[in-house]
């Protein structure tokens, strides 16, 4: 757990001011530079800013019309009374809240995380290279016994390096569903937090990994280069051949090869705030091409130019793809 549990109130206030300024119409390059400088000048600033991004992300999940009607409903007496309790509880310390209250995903507890749309490569002390995909949170815990990456949400691509310690420690990736042990290797792990079937996807490019679901003590499996599968807490799915270009994201691109538009848009939505909907009759339209993930607005407009589709933008955060 990192120090970001407690956000400095002053940093929170400054982060809020920056968010307001950056969203205003007259925000220029100079503002952006000043904001970057503020962010990097103090870890407390960065921590507060990450929370601001998390907030924008949450707001982006709401259909605007519904959000307004529900959240701006008239204030009742009961709400007023909450103020006091809230103040008392904040004074008593945040642990008193219980982790489930106001819980918004685990990203803030992680050591490293990426915002929506961000792809970040990093090299660890032992030379292991990790690329974090969009909206990903990991804890890095290298101990005496093992090198452990806890994947809390999102997707990572890993190239392990031979351990510097002797004897070499195993390299493990843990998710909610179980763990993956690397055997000299290049592989990727994705945690899919689906409502009814949360699972972890694993794909191996080089070497091999061993998968062990949380509750499946006997059900371990070795996955070799060129193979992929997924697993839940209890069981591992069938082993499949590796889909081509499935790790293109780690190079910042998305490759479609006769990919149904619906599937492609679901993938693009991972890199954006807000809602991206596809008219059902377009969902099967096949699309091919290589797209830059850096600017998904541009990507969508590119799709609009080359396909019989039309982007309908209700608000900045609510886009519907419709037939022309």
């Amino acid at each position: 757990m990192t120090a970001s549990l407690h956000i400095d109130p002053r940093a929170a206030h400054e982060a809020a001011s920056w968010l307001v300024r950056l969203r205003s119409e007259d925000c220029g390059i100079a503002d952006q530079q000043a904001w970057q400088a503020w962010r990097s000048s103090d870890p407390a600033h960065e921590a507060a800013w990450q929370r601001a991004e998390l907030l924008c992300h949450s707001l982006g999940l709401l259909p605007p019309a519904a959000g307004m009607r529900v959240l701006d409903r008239p204030i009742r007496k009961t709400r007023r009374a909450t103020v006091k309790t809230l103040a008392a509880l904040i004074a008593a310390g945040p642990l008193l809240w219980g982790a489930d209250h106001l819980a918004g995903g685990p990203a803030w507890r992680a050591d490293v995380h990426t915002a929506r749309g961000e792809i970040r490569p990093m090299t660890l002390d032992d030379g292991t290279r990790i690329v974090l995909n969009t909206d990903t949170a990991i804890d890095i815990a290298y101990g005496l016994q093992e090198r452990l990456i806890h994947l809390r949400s999102g997707e990572i691509h890993i190239e392990t390096a031979p351990d510097t310690a002797s004897p070499p420690r195993p390299f493990l990736v843990r998710t909610e569903q179980g763990r993956v042990r690397a055997i000299g290797t290049r592989f990727s792990v994705r945690h899919d937090d689906e409502l009814f079937q949360p699972h972890t996807q694993v794909a191996v490019m080089q070497g091999a990994v061993e998968i062990r679901p949380k509750h499946g003590e006997l059900a371990t499996r070795i996955l070799k280069a060129g193979e992929q599968t997924s697993f839940t807490e209890d069981a591992i799915s069938a082993t499949m051949p590796l889909a081509p270009q499935f790790d293109a994201w780690s190079r910042g691109v998305l490759v479609a090869d006769n990919t149904p538009l619906g599937v492609l848009l679901a993938e693009i939505a991972r890199y954006r705030h807000g809602v991206l909907r596809c008219a059902p009759e377009l969902a099967r339209l096949p699309v091919s091409g290589t797209f830059q993930l850096k600017d998904t607005d541009k990507l969508l407009h590119l799709l609009q130019r080359s396909l019989p589709i039309r982007l309908r933008q209700r608000t900045r955060l609510w886009i519907t793809i419709e037939p022309v």
Binding site: H13, V20, R51, R69, T85, G98
Partner: protein, 177 residues
């Protein structure tokens, strides 16, 4: 790079408090239930919230909770009651909205549940802000209105709009998790 040992320490309970919690339960469950019945419409709800209150106690790593159980239980139960009514009013508003906003009927049940959960989280963070502060924040972030438009809508100055927005966002930054 963090030492994993710290994580382990934070997760493991201090000296095993199970016995103390049993004692607290025996001693305090009765009055807590009566207190909750006075605040809620049904005995079932009171029993549920009493249960939730003890669950909070069990999962709390906050040590004074065990030393002064009555104060802790009252504070937690009070908040659960308020929360209960806030959730009820939010869910009512959400049902009304579903009935009145046609574009929402296209959502799958899972998407609706996601939206409802997000609404609950944001509602809890905004809870306690003055109405105009809350409205300014929502108009800016959900409707995408400019400061000038919000100022006109709420009949306040643009400076005040700016101040309200910073106030609401700063609060959310402190509470969001």
């Amino acid at each position: 790079m963090p030492a994993p040992a710290i994580v382990t320490l934070a997760l493991s309970a201090p000296s095993d408090p199970a016995d103390r919690i049993t004692a607290i339960y025996r001693q305090h469950h009765g009055w807590l239930l009566r207190w909750l019945r006075g605040k809620l419409q049904s005995a079932d709800q009171a029993a549920d919230l009493a249960h939730d209150t003890f669950v909070r106690l069990l999962t709390s790593t906050h040590q004074p909770a065990l030393r002064e159980p009555r104060a802790y239980l009252t504070t937690v139960a009070q908040r659960l009651v308020i929360d209960h009514y806030r959730r009820l009013s939010l869910e009512q508003a959400w049902l009304d909205t579903l009935a009145h906003v046609p574009e929402l009927t296209a959502m799958s049940p899972e998407e609706r549940l996601d939206v409802l959960q997000t609404l609950h989280r944001i509602d809890a963070m905004l809870d306690g802000l003055p109405a105009p502060v809350r409205s300014a924040f929502l108009l800016s972030h959900l409707e995408g209105l400019s400061h000038a438009e919000i100022a006109a809508r709420l009949e306040i100055s643009e400076r005040t709009v700016h101040r309200y927005l910073v106030q609401a966002i700063a609060r959310c930054i402190l509470l969001i998790a």
